[in-house]
């Protein structure tokens, strides 16, 4: 099929999928069907024109689709509709957005999901028709079904275990057991792990081509976890239990703990998947002398650790201003039984350095430019707000972590600090990488190898950044 024909087919398929999404939307929110079918078709055409070219696989398509749907929601149901209806002036923008929260869930599931996966599947089909036989050298980058299932499934089990701790704490297992008309926590636990394995395996199937390093995989996992909060906790669970689906922001607020759990679950899935996937690739492909890197893994990681630690000092110092202003430093000191600002500051810098080192190892070669560097840093900062502030920090203080909206409310100043820390660390780390890259550029072979290992343009990374950063900041504000 020629390129113009492919483009036309993409637009037609997207319009049809958008229309079908419009039908679903109208049914779910009891909205006028004709207008939503038409709106869906228009969304489909816009998506096909602007985004579909980037949706090269179903997984990439899913992310582009979700980000597209979120942007649409921000523009149309959260702004234009209440503005034209005159409700925004009466209730204010925040309340208008809260009122439009069901539309957010519906936009993601009825428009973003089908448009993205559909476009990605179609594009993958086109690509498959023209794909040439791979050489032994690029086998590692080719899709492998066993690798996706085994590594993704293993990651799902570990992620399920991490999420299961919260489920046990809030007695969530009987609720899950309700899916098979039971109230037994054991059945609930079994079901939970089965679902976790399925989600992990689908993570591998959808994103194997796009995740590159540990850090990007971790972020992909968080994005996928959030998606499953909308699809699973807010939608499928009540449907399968035979209950009415409630997409209101108050229900979202009640399920905020589950939201954080999904973030942590996705984070663990992404990270474990990346590690298992890496081991697989190293064992089966990179150990082949034809594919060997000139410098060993230890050397590269040591360098990244050092850069990360050095880069984190900038971010750590900026973050410490927020901590000082909000009086959080004595809290940090209490991790080791102290109360002083100085001890808190010292401990904060140590923690900053450790997280910076992890950033170095996880996000090497992910940022081809400053914008990408800042975006990855912001996402990593956001992830650490969920993981560090809401989860590990209470545990280190000897308390039980509470993934409640109240806890999130109290932690919002820290969110600003985490974002600042991530952005600053990422920028300085990128400067180190560039400096090293300038050395490598003196040798064309090394320069070519570095270019090959850098994240290329065209992956759904921008969609992921937008989806994570916007929802990660928006939801704690809206749902509170």
């Amino acid at each position: 099929m020629q390129v113009p024909e492919q483009r036309l087919l993409r637009i037609v398929v997207a319009a049809v999928l958008g229309s079908l999404g419009g039908i679903l939307y109208a049914r779910a929110l009891d909205a006028p069907p004709v207008m939503n079918i038409l709106l869906g078709a228009v969304y489909g055409v816009v998506f096909a024109s602007l985004f579909a070219r980037r949706a090269t696989t179903p997984g990439a398509g899913l992310l582009w689709g979700l980000a597209f749907a979120l942007a649409l929601w921000l523009i149309i149901p959260a702004n234009l509709m209440p503005m034209f209806a005159g409700t925004m002036r009466q209730a204010g923008m925040l309340d208008a957005a809260r009122a439009a929260f069901p539309a957010l869930v519906a936009y993601l599931l009825c428009f973003g999901l089908p448009l993205g996966v559909g476009a990605g599947t179609l594009q993958a089909f086109f690509a498959r028709a023209t794909e040439e036989n791979p050489s032994i050298m690029n086998k590692a980058t080719r899709f492998s079904l066993p690798r996706a299932l085994v590594t993704g499934g293993s990651a799902g089990i570990v992620g399920g275990w991490a999420f299961g701790e919260w489920m046990r704490q809030v007695d969530f297992y009987p609720l899950v057991a309700g899916l098979v008309s039971s109230t037994s926590p054991m059945i609930g636990k079994t079901l939970h792990f089965t679902i976790a394995v399925v989600i992990g395996a689908t993570f591998g199937l959808l994103f194997q081509r796009d995740v590159r390093g540990f850090g990007s995989s971790l972020c992909w996992g968080v994005g996928y976890g959030i998606f499953w909060w909308f699809l699973g906790a807010m939608t499928l669970l009540p449907v399968l239990r035979g209950e009415a689906v409630d997409w209101s922001y108050t229900r979202g607020g009640e399920l905020f703990g589950s939201f954080v759990g999904h973030v942590i679950y996705g984070l663990v899935i992404g990270l474990i998947y990346a590690i298992a996937n890496r081991l697989w690739v190293v064992f089966f492909y990179e150990s082949d002398p034809l594919n060997r890197e000139p410098s060993g893994v230890g050397e590269r990681n040591l360098r990244a650790l050092a850069w990360g630690a050095a880069a984190s000092m900038t971010g750590g110092l900026l973050f410490s201003i927020v901590m000082y202003e909000t009086g959080a430093l004595p809290n940090v000191a209490s991790i080791v039984g102290g109360t002083s600002y100085a001890l808190g500051f010292g401990l904060h810098l140590v923690i900053s350095a450790l997280i910076g080192m992890s950033y170095g190892v996880l996000f090497r070669r992910e940022a081809p430019d400053a914008g990408a560097g800042v975006a990855w840093g912001l996402v990593y900062g956001l992830v650490w707000w969920f993981l560090g502030h809401l989860t590990l920090f209470p545990v280190l203080l000897g308390r039980q972590f509470t993934w409640t909206i109240e806890a999130a409310n109290l932690g919002l100043p820290s969110l600003i600090g985490h974002l600042t820390y991530g952005a600053a660390t990422a920028v300085v780390f990128m400067l180190f990488e560039r400096r090293h890259g300038a050395w490598l550029a003196l040798d064309p072979r090394l320069a070519a190898r570095e270019a090959r290992l850098q994240r290329p343009a065209g992956t759904p990374a921008p969609a992921l950044w937008f989806f994570l950063l916007t929802l990660g900041v928006l939801l704690p504000i809206i749902l509170g």
Binding site: G296, G298, E325, G371, L419, T420, G458, P462
Partner: protein, 603 residues
């Protein structure tokens, strides 16, 4: 049009359009709009939009809207208004409209910047990149020698000059790897795999051109180095031309602006030709491999030997020289030889002898007398025989002669008793000391020859504080390399040079199984603890993580398994052993085998 101006204009227009969304959500619309224009210009200049990357542009800019909101509305504007940042839950919820505003702003900015960028591409063509000429090589630094001094100097030069493409660095070495000499005795004693103590130069040096070759002369007035014709030299714009115009068509010439002489030292047989012809050197990796193979070969032959006298000669190993190299080798070989005995039932243990011949009254003259005595006693207890205050005067196949007139029947003589600076220095018009080392000033420059520097074993380096010549050890060579690299960098940039000074840290010497002597900053250690120090310090100093891991694994294996006695093919065509009749034929046969296997025949 300048590309940055073009991008800024596009950014301003797109930012102004997005600024409408900001103005709508800000309390003060003018501030919102102005910020939109400002960040639009910054975004336009900073992020070049690749053609038709609509999706990427929209969502990247929209993502950056969130941190801009946090920075501007939550922190900066309240601070400018003399208030506290609005980062409480209530404060941030009050700022929710501006969060939406910044996100919408990002979407519009990304979309329009991309669209206008694509339009500008169609109308005005691609952005004009200012023609940046390829950086001209202005400074050529040639380092002769791939030992500690040369390689460390190259590493420091790489650090000093960074990615400065106007400086070209070339290192000429006869081998393609840096040998970690402190562990050489362990290779000869089959404790470590040979290649594990050598680090490839090509993976160690990141931007220095490595030329494996042999230097046969330097023309200091023409600033050229001549390499032997068998040298394979990579083509480079700066040396290719020289090679074409070479006076000697078969040789290669390297031109330089700065020449670093780090040629090291060679064995000095003090004019004893017979000794030179029959003894093993102990300087290179090949020497260590050769000694190990030879020792195993002697045991194989001794096991089949029925003549007791001939057998004794086969398992008698003489080491000349009781410095660090000789003592460590004697201790290592003694452990190796006696450890092998269990596998050679026809060799009586009392016939195995390791003899260390030393001209002074005590071994290890660089160490304190107490530690040297400890080392001697320990080695004697383990079976090493010492001939102190004794010189080797002659050698012939099957025996060596001492100055006392005594003759020791042996098939193995290893020479560690003397070294001399590389003989190439004799051909250069530079001042030399009585050892033959190039005399340099405090900055390591060779007087009278601008741009010529020397360091390490081949140089006599005065200490800036004491004025005394520094000892020719690796410890000093490493520090000299740092000073020298800094001085070349300083001279290239017109900055003042620094004089060399270094206080020795101390000495370490391993003298047998889990036993060593150490003298660190005046503190003396011996026995097991000193041995742990020796291993810890040298493992840390061994270049490259990969080599460290390999050596560590070798050491762990050695704890549980006996040393390897597998013989490898000796590829050396000029093998020197005190062989019995028939050895020449065997050597030829080995040579034929190695040629048949295409093995490299050494440089």
């Amino acid at each position: 049009m300048n590309k940055y101006l073009r991008r800024a204009i596009i950014g301003v227009i797109a930012g102004a359009a997005g600024g409408v969304a900001l103005a709508y959500t800000f309390d003060n619309p003018a501030v919102g709009f102005s910020l939109g224009v400002l960040f639009g210009a910054i975004y336009g200049v900073a992020f070049a939009a690749p053609s038709r990357a609509d999706a990427d542009g929209i969502l990247t800019a929209a993502s950056l809207g969130v941190p801009l909101w946090a920075l501007i509305n939550v922190v900066a504007l309240p601070l400018l208004a003399g208030e506290l940042p609005r980062w409480t839950a209530a404060g941030m919820r009050a700022q929710f409209p501006t969060l939406v505003g910044w996100t919408l702003y990002g979407i519009i900015l990304g979309l329009l910047a991309q669209a206008f960028g694509d339009l500008a591409m169609r109308v005005f063509g691609a952005e004009r990149e200012p023609l940046v000429p390829a950086p001209e090589v202005k400074t050529r630094i040639v380092i002769l020698g791939g030992g500690f001094a040369g390689v460390t100097c190259a590493e420091y030069l790489e650090r000093a000059f960074g990615a400065d493409a106007s400086v070209e660095m070339t290192l000429v070495s006869e081998t393609n790897a840096l040998l970690f000499t402190p562990m050489l005795a362990e290779v000869a004693a089959s404790s470590l795999e040979a290649t594990h103590i050598s680090t490839p130069l090509r993976s160690t040096l990141r931007r220095t051109r490595v030329v494996r070759g042999r230097v046969i002369g330097c023309d200091l007035s023409a600033r050229q180095v001549r390499l032997a014709s068998d040298t394979r030299m990579p083509v480079s714009p700066t040396n290719h031309k020289d090679a074409d115009t070479a006076a000697h068509a078969d040789d290669h010439l390297l031109s330089y602006d700065h020449l670093v002489l780090a040629l090291g030292a060679v064995s000095n047989y003090l004019g004893m030709k017979n000794v030179e012809q029959t003894a093993f050197d102990f300087k290179s990796l090949a020497d260590a491999i050769r000694i190990r193979n030879h020792v195993i070969d002697c045991f194989e032959r001794a096991d089949a030997e029925t003549n007791a006298q001939a057998r004794r000669a086969l398992v008698t190993f003489v080491i000349a020289g009781g410095g660090y190299a000789g003592a460590e080798l004697a201790g290592g070989l003694n452990d190796f030889a006696r450890g092998m005995l269990a596998l050679y039932p026809n060799i009586p243990p009392e016939e195995v002898k390791v003899v260390l011949v030393h001209s002074r009254e005590r071994i290890l003259p660089e160490m304190s007398a107490g530690l040297a005595d400890y080392a001697l006693r320990h080695m004697e207890e383990r079976g090493v025989t010492f001939e102190l205050q004794t010189r080797l005067t002659d050698a012939r196949p099957g025996a060596v002669t001492l100055n006392s007139g005594e003759e020791i029947e042996t098939e193995t003589l290893v020479w560690t008793a003397g070294t001399a600076p590389n003989p190439l220095l004799q051909t250069l018009p530079v001042e030399r000391d009585k050892r033959g080392a190039a005399v340099v000033d405090g900055t390591l420059a060779v007087p009278g020859h601008a741009g010529v520097w020397a360091l390490g074993d081949c140089a006599q380096v005065p200490d800036a504080k004491t004025g005394q010549p520094c000892p020719p050890t690796a410890q000093f060579a490493l520090r000299e390399a740092k000073t020298l690299a800094g001085n070349i960098h300083a001279q290239v940039h017109g900055r003042p040079l620094k004089a060399f000074h270094f206080d020795s840290l101390g000495q370490l010497c391993v003298v047998g199984h889990q036993t060593a002597c150490a003298e660190i900053k005046g503190l003396k250690f011996s026995g097991f603890f000193a041995w742990l120090m020796w291993r810890g310090i040298y493992l840390g100093k061994l270049p490259g993580l990969e080599r460290k891991v390999r050596v560590l694994v070798d050491w762990i294996i050695e704890v549980f398994f006996p040393r390897d006695i597998v013989q490898t093919i000796d590829t050396d065509t000029h093998r020197k052993d005190l062989g019995t009749p028939g050895d020449e034929a065997r050597a030829e046969e080995m040579h034929r085998m190695s040629e048949a296997q295409g093995a490299y025949a050494g440089s």
